[in-house]
């Protein structure tokens, strides 16, 4: 794939054009990744913080609302879980249960219990659990 950078001082913000003979699934994935990695706004103690997607371990609902967790701490998020699921890049984030979305890049171990429950270990040792029903999504996300 040919990648070219053109310096254009007249532009007010970066502009990316993807040219290809046809729109393949790979190109769609590339476009999606370019357009949807907007950082997330997280609220903590009344203050808002811009959080890069790469820093996020997981999003989860705890009955009070949606929160996101990084290695530094927990923040509140205004979006709902299903909105986040649609918005976040599918190649990086996957829903693992009714109440949780995890950053695939932050998974450090996966274990299977005798009853089929899947335990995911995230960076820093955080343990989260998924059921067989959601494993299909994880398989699709990683390309199995």
């Amino acid at each position: 794939m040919k990648v070219e950078f053109i310096k254009s001082p007249e532009l007010t913000e970066p502009e990316i054009t993807v040219r290809a003979p046809e729109l393949t699934p790979e190109i769609s994935k590339l476009i999606a990744s370019l357009t949807s990695d907007e950082p997330i706004r997280g609220w903590h103690g009344g203050e808002v913080e811009i959080i890069p997607l790469a820093d996020i371990l997981r999003f989860y609902t705890d009955g009070k609302g949606v929160s996101l967790e990084t290695e530094k701490g927990v923040y509140s998020v205004r979006e709902r879980i299903y909105e986040l699921e649609e918005r976040l890049p599918k190649s990086d984030f996957v829903r693992i249960s009714n109440s949780e979305i995890v950053n695939i890049r932050r998974i450090t171990a996966i274990d299977l219990s005798f009853t089929g429950t899947v335990r995911l270990t995230l960076t820093g040792g955080r343990l989260v659990f998924s059921s067989r029903r959601y494993i299909k999504k994880l398989k699709e996300a990683v390309g199995v």
């Binding site: 996966i110 899947v118 067989r132 029903r133 494993i135 994880l138 990683v142 199995v144």
Partner: protein, 267 residues
């Protein structure tokens, strides 16, 4: 269609088909003990009617047998235990009504125990399938643990499944036909096919696993050995004893080849 409605429809369809098959097959199964279901009388006795109802119930329970294993976690355990308890209850009832246990409680307990081993085998087969998926995900994420020497740890669940299958299949085969030819055919076809298939699946997920060839052979010998001991059969292993190891090797190599070709295509 809602999930509940779909699930109910699945239960009705599978239960109905299973029940019908139960009516066809179970009376024949009873022939190995006695012929009470077949010859209970033209006019029909309460025992005969109850027996046919129980044949339908057991068949229906077998028909929906995969559904309790469809979920995970605590729900899976609860549903499986309930299903097992109902099946054991219906099976105990048919044994008592028809005298299949020959009036002995220890025989009845043995049948219920065999049913538990059968459930354990089905559950292990499913768990191994899940484990294969997890292994593939780990690999894609680059977090697959380092392989154990000769793949012993990776091969172990498959070997336990081979052992349980060898025991259940050979026991059922020889118990159904004391003259031995049904048992011999089942033992010569289903067990080797099972060993081969386990080798293929293991190879697909873990590549060539030398330990499997040895422990699959041991598993088959132990499984068949338990049957020979329990039924006091006058059987030896002879030259055929090497067949499981050979099939484990061929199956495992085939699985490893499938895996390699998949990897090449992905590149």
């Amino acid at each position: 269609m809602t999930e509940e409605k779909y699930s109910l429809r699945q239960h009705i369809i599978r239960g109905g088909i299973g029940g019908a098959l139960g009516l066809l097959i179970l009376p024949r199964f009873g022939e190995m003990f006695n012929s009470i279901i077949i010859d209970a009388g033209e006019g029909g006795t309460p025992a005969l009617i109850i027996s046919y109802i129980l044949c339908f119930v057991i068949g229906a329970l077998a028909g929906i047998a995969t559904l309790p294993f469809a979920d995970t976690g605590k729900e899976l355990v609860v549903r499986s235990v309930i299903h097992y308890a109902l099946t054991a209850l219906a099976f105990s009832a048919i044994c008592l009504v028809n005298g299949w246990n020959r009036g002995r409680w220890d025989t009845l307990l043995f049948f219920i125990g065999m049913l538990a081993v059968f459930y354990l085998t089905i559950w292990l087969a499913r768990w191994i399938a899940w484990l294969g998926e997890i292994s593939d995900i780990r690999e894609k994420l680059g977090i697959k643990p380092k392989r154990s020497p000769l793949g012993i740890v990776e091969a172990l669940p498959y070997a336990v499944l081979v052992l349980l299958t060898s025991f259940i299949v050979s026991y059922a085969g020889y118990a159904l036909d004391r003259t031995g030819w049904v048992g011999s055919i089942i033992t010569a076809i289903i067990i080797p096919a099972g060993v081969f298939w386990n080798g293929v699946v293991l190879g697909k997920h873990n590549g060539f696993t030398p330990a499997f060839i040895v422990i699959a052979e041991i598993a088959v010998i132990v499984g068949l050995g338990i049957t020979i001991f329990a039924l006091r059969l006058n059987l030896g292993f002879g030259w055929g004893a090497a067949i499981p190891a050979a099939l484990a090797l061929i199956g495992n190599l085939a699985g490893a080849a499938i895996r390699k070709s998949k990897e090449k295509r992905a590149e």
